[in-house]
Subunit: 478 residues, 4 copies
């Protein structure tokens, strides 16, 4: 049974502009042909007159299980795969037919990936890295160091082991060659690409420390390439970025985040010259303004540099990739004070990191920074496919490629905001029932109602310790 899409303007990601009225013939999950409708015939026809068809959107950096809060990981222990599937369905509903998960629990991710690949559940196509090589687990100094001591050792170790396996912080103690061996062992477990830490994650010195030397980084990248996989790096300083590019990474994550220092011209040229994919994490102009109010002067230097970097990267000719660390935070987490002052605390229209909407924010932000309409489309599709070396199958609408595409009501080449006008999503050649997603809301479900007892628990006076103590002393804060 074949499917013929007719009537739409086809923006195939190859041509310089959309082509009105071309039809797309799909069979067995792939695009068979694109051409004049009178030359093509399908057993079923969908009339998309007035619509705009684009390649399925991609996201070069999501975390389908980003909500690694102690409470959440306890509550859903044994169901992490369900959380990941929920997220993959949210992603698909938002037009992303393929997402690259760059940090998460390997086994649950691979299991969800395989369920989706085999058609057993709907969801965005997942490709995953498992752990970021060099990082310790969610309940460690790299992430939330408060948990050991609060949670039971059994659980804390279990969770950390689930994320880290053999490629955690201990690699820093080893020789480059010994690191290479551990990476090889990890790859054999079936991850789709390799991500390693050039800089530390940020809890120690805001990301300024280096996790691995140039030599170790080269060996990690070589191992990935030897295994037929792409390699990428987590960087957060200008030197960490330069090292990752020199090491031969296929792409670098959030490369505009370089602390208070702007990326020097030489590094920009190196990035473009080596055709290394450049993931950018931008702020919108409005988000930039809002954030300024809530962050310290020190932090602000970083946001300013990140913005200058984003603009310079656009000008540099590097291959820009859309990505946003997209994930789902449970509603009780979203309202916590710790969210404030991060860009996840921005209003939804400006918040980059949300899985369902952040890619739209990305497109708006980069449009503001001067990327052309077609460059935006490439950043969200073709460039990602190329950087991840899946462009034989994905990234553009061409005969022979997998039939992943999004149908929009409004023209995305007119305004980036039109990417939000999703009319239909077709993945692997089949129309997705968007209304049914996510099938089982967990983190996207509403908060449970307050218990009857809560009304009687009068917070105002219970939390006595928040009152000032001795009225003329300074000790109330202790």
């Amino acid at each position: 049974m074949s499917l013929l899409l007719t009537g739409a303007t086809v923006i195939d990601g190859v041509s310089d502009q959309g082509i009105d009225g071309h039809a797309i013939l799909i069979d067995d999950g792939r695009i068979v042909a694109i051409g004049r409708p009178d030359e093509l015939t399908g057993t079923e026809t969908l009339d998309f007159r007035g619509k705009f068809v684009i390649p399925g959107l991609m996201n070069a950096n999501v975390h389908l299980l980003i909500n690694v809060f102690f409470e959440t990981l306890v509550r859903y222990e044994g169901r992490y795969e369900d959380l990941i599937v929920e997220a993959a369905q949210v992603a698909l509903k938002s037009g992303m037919t393929t997402v690259f998960d760059t940090w998460g629990p390997r086994r649950a991710l691979m299991s969800a990936r395989d369920r989706i690949d085999r058609g057993r559940t709907p969801g965005s196509r997942i490709r995953c890295a498992g752990n970021i090589i060099g990082f310790d687990g969610p309940f460690s100094d790299d992430f939330d160091k408060r948990i050991p001591g609060v949670g039971s050792s059994h659980f804390v170790d279990r969770v950390n082991a689930t994320w880290v396996e053999n490629v955690g912080r201990h690699l820093m103690w080893l020789t480059p060659e010994a690191v290479g061996e551990e990476v090889r062992a990890y790859l054999e477990r079936g991850v789709d690409f390799v991500k390693y830490a050039s800089n530390e994650h940020g809890a120690a010195a805001a990301g300024a420390f280096l996790q691995f030397s140039e030599r170790t980084q080269r060996i990690i990248v070589e191992e990935a390439h030897r295994g037929g996989l792409t390699a990428q790096s987590h960087t957060s300083t200008v030197e960490g970025l330069r090292m990752a590019i020199e090491a031969g990474c296929d792409l670098v994550q959030h490369c505009n985040m370089t602390g208070p220092t702007e990326i020097p011209r030489e590094t920009l040229e190196l990035l473009a010259g080596k055709n290394c994919g450049a993931v950018v994490f931008p702020l919108t102009d409005n988000g930039f303004k809002i954030l300024k109010e809530s962050v310290s002067d020190h932090e602000w230097t970083m946001w300013q540099a990140s913005d200058a970097n984003a603009r310079n990267l656009v000008d540099s000719g590097a291959s820009i990739l859309l990505a946003n660390d997209g994930g789902i935070f449970a509603p009780e987490v979203r309202s916590e004070p710790m969210i404030k002052g991060t860009w996840n605390g921005l209003p939804e229209d400006e918040a980059l990191g949300r899985l369902a909407t952040g890619h739209f924010v990305w497109l708006k932000a980069m449009e503001e920074k001067g990327m052309s309409p077609m460059a935006l489309l490439h950043a969200a599709t073709r460039n990602i496919a190329e950087a991840y070396q899946v462009d034989d199958d994905l990234g553009t609408l061409e005969a022979g490629k997998i039939a992943d595409l999004v149908v929009l009501d409004e023209d995305p080449l007119q305004s980036a905001k039109n990417y939000q006008s999703i009319h239909a999503v077709i993945k692997d050649g089949a129309v997705v029932d968007l209304d049914a997603l996510p099938e089982q809301p967990l983190l996207t479900a509403d908060l449970p109602p307050s218990p009857v007892e809560a009304a009687r628990y009068r917070k105002a006076v219970h939390h006595g310790a928040r009152l000032p103590g001795c009225p003329s002393c300074l000790n109330g804060n202790h």
Copy 2:
């Protein structure tokens, strides 16, 4: 259908000694008669030749949900009642036909109580106080102050509200009369007795602060009595103890725990003179020795005073009650370092606080301190029934009382350790199927096996922060 128990030595808790060969006739859940077997007839006969029948054991202070660790309360949210039922079944299996829960989540406790009372599930008879009046919830300065900030506000508040309702710390800000009104409102929700804090719980000054004044304490006790309920107090200093007795409490909890100071003679006499039930928390001689090795000198002063108090209380003629804060700690919690140096960290034979075995430890410890065999039995049965004013129904084997009894293989009047030789438990006139308990192991279940990933998470080198840093500096500890 009536039941006739024959052949056993009956230790009824009334006579000075056991009576050989008397039969006990039970009908409709109550004891109909105790007498010569040839004078009694039942539709069913149980031959307990060579056994020893005693009144069902009681425990004047348990916490059926004592494992209020953040991780546990997240994992079992919505199932606290199941945890309580599990504990009530463990208690019953251990010979305790009635337990008094003196701190826990009121609604879940009452619901479990009612399920058991109505015969819908087996379990020890529960009578419960709900919150200790004056204490804040599990995730507060009174218990675990690390959790607010780690758990989501929604969950933290939900749990605290579930425990506290309207009778928490804020009462300290009120006048005695206003406290009385709040207590009255709480009683109307259906608790079985009242427990309030004379001293603070211990996180602030090891229990030395006073929570309520003499006047407030009197008003709380009066409210309880006006509502037909008994009143008791949590005390931890000699003055806090004296105040509770003067206020008219029917019993006082762990009254031998008075910090580094021994209870003065006047207070001992007051306790005995007012017939106030004296709950003692004793250490065995062996436990005392073990503990000495692991605690500081400061702590040791308290254990020494508690031991001297226990002995003096026995001599004082006060009505001694068996109790132990008995509860079930999940296996992952029992192995945590925080358990060490507490008496829950003692070996099972000496650990007072365990629900399944702690009452046996109590009996052994108090036997060592010179209580007579019959005084031990009374402490575990009749004295508790009298202090809680349920002695019309419980506490001894007498015609008309509820048929709660334990059948032992060995004579408890020979040695306190014989209480462990439980042959059968009969509650409400029915033989309990001990092997079936607990029906659904939750906290008593085994730990889950290690995940496959754990083998690869090499702890020895991951947790780098535990290594000394600069080798000649002192900074390794920071």
Copy 3:
């Protein structure tokens, strides 16, 4: 050599109003007579025409060494007496001829007191309590609990011992009678009055816990009275206040600070009926407004209650005393963030707690709350002398009393702000050289200049840990 003051309006604190033109004859440190100038002769005459003479101001609650920060106590170890003398000189310069120090290091305070009493150094007359009975030292859970572990044990213990001696927290473990013995031993060391804690200091439950029972409080007060000393209490709840009054205190500190609950009418009547001095800590209307912006809703409930209490106390007829916990914070401490949100963080015109100016704020605030001009003067002089039972010598301008007086340029009965127009201060019959005070500025000295190196220590980028880490995570805050 006698001194005759002529020409001023004399507001003697006894008459209902000022008397124009009366002269005051002083000899040997005391007032010999007050009367018509033509009837009096002195060897020296001071012409205060157009001025206003009032009794020397008093302050019922200062802490001449309130700056008990670790850094300060290290820096000035061995010189605490010098800090106290500096503060006594600041107080004198501000018109306070007598101050009652209600918490501080006993030996240094007594030594400074004696130096001043013997005329060896100028300064406000000091009367002191030493430790607040029941409180632990500056580096303890009662004050700054962060210091043990940061400072060396030797120093931490030394400081705590210097403040606490034998009357600290451990008294809570004792029987009332044993507390009485310890208090008696403490009084023998020479303090001038007794202050004890009815409520805890505030670090545990914002002041809601009770430190001592009614019985213990009565015994402490009895010990003070038996020793010929007055007794007072630190209270912070309505019940703690009631207990202190019932125990027989001569005065109660900051009695309007009762957490979120207003003082009930019965307690107000008790206070007035027992003629117990009522120290009030008021906010000005403007300070009240400013503070509202910076404190939480929970804290605000307390400030509102404290304000209502202040007004109700004025109406109650109780003897109101001026006091403010007055002390000197070093300039580096005043600019610390922990000051914000306390009333010490208010602008100088509204900040109650500053030694040099806070009493003027007090007078302004209570004038706003409706106290009459003469009532204000009494609160600052006569009422304090009476409550402390030094009214034979101090508090009014009467023949036979010590010649402590303040000469103002403007009429204090016209406006409370005129108390600031200090023209001269006479203490013990001698004119004070105000310009020379403080003789040796320590805490009132300027900050040292920045070292040369500071310019090169670029804070903006050094403190990397303040930058957000992983840009899309929430971990920046950990």
Copy 4:
């Protein structure tokens, strides 16, 4: 005036063995000749018959102000130079005529250095690096992160600036070239050599993170060499060590400390091949045993690797340097719990890090590991002079060199412990009055006596919070 030393066995550090009976002629601070006593004449003669003369001992790594505890830095603010002079005098008294201070407050160190060089005060010759390039100050995440927030911002910033100036953590944000510029600016302030961080100091990941990339390290070394100075590195992993050697360092500090991993053979060969000085921090056999009892298994892996490294370094042919991070801890600090479990907590005979005795421990430890007597002497003298490129003047006893020498009672070539038998120290040709050192004991002074008040501060019961709270709960630890 010239000085002739006669009668001793001269161990000049050049010959393979000591030469009996040679005389040493010294004039104007330098050695004029060494030869047969009948051929040499001095205006003054010192008869050292039966003694052993060796070159003045050197130490390649001391911290003359290592006691950077908050309390100490407050107490001695403005007198850091005095503390440094005291330490230099302790060093001299212990036979060290030259010490290399590799981390400390630059200005105070240079000032002490100059005072000693100009003969204004006795003391070991100081050569200093100032800050370790890349590290933040004493009150920062690199050292003691608890202090910001406890100390006033003014003081905390002042201290950090004094240590760090422009070469702190912020360099990690910069490009290699920009780091080079900052280093150049720092060198212009007059330090004697350059030390930078290859690995982080250890508070973040026990030293596993890298502070600077290979490229940055090369540029730092080049800047040092361009300025005519030697360069060295702080390393703590095998990769950090390799990078430092490759970068061209003249010596590497504590190169046997590489976490849990032993230095690979290739790196050992690189070290020897490049003639890079190898500072070793050894444990004695006995110290090793003692430490095993007090450290965790994780830490133990590091000590084991460090010991294997020390032995392998001896075998590798690398130039071994004596050093020990030698410094003086104040007595109140030495007795703090944080010292335990560090090698500073070992008994004096085994504790490497003490300034007065640690070099003797070093010699004993390395003798145990098989270094020959002459190799030990070289490690303590000539090797250090060569690595620091001061061998034209120092390190051996040769005509023309500075007359720094130590006279021993016992033969150091017989046993390493004989280095402790110091008979006399001659520095710059003059006999040092050892008994007079240190001239002004500060950190080496005794603790002040307990105040009178201390006897009354009964610790056992004051620190109530150390007592268990609710006796059957786990909350005592919170």
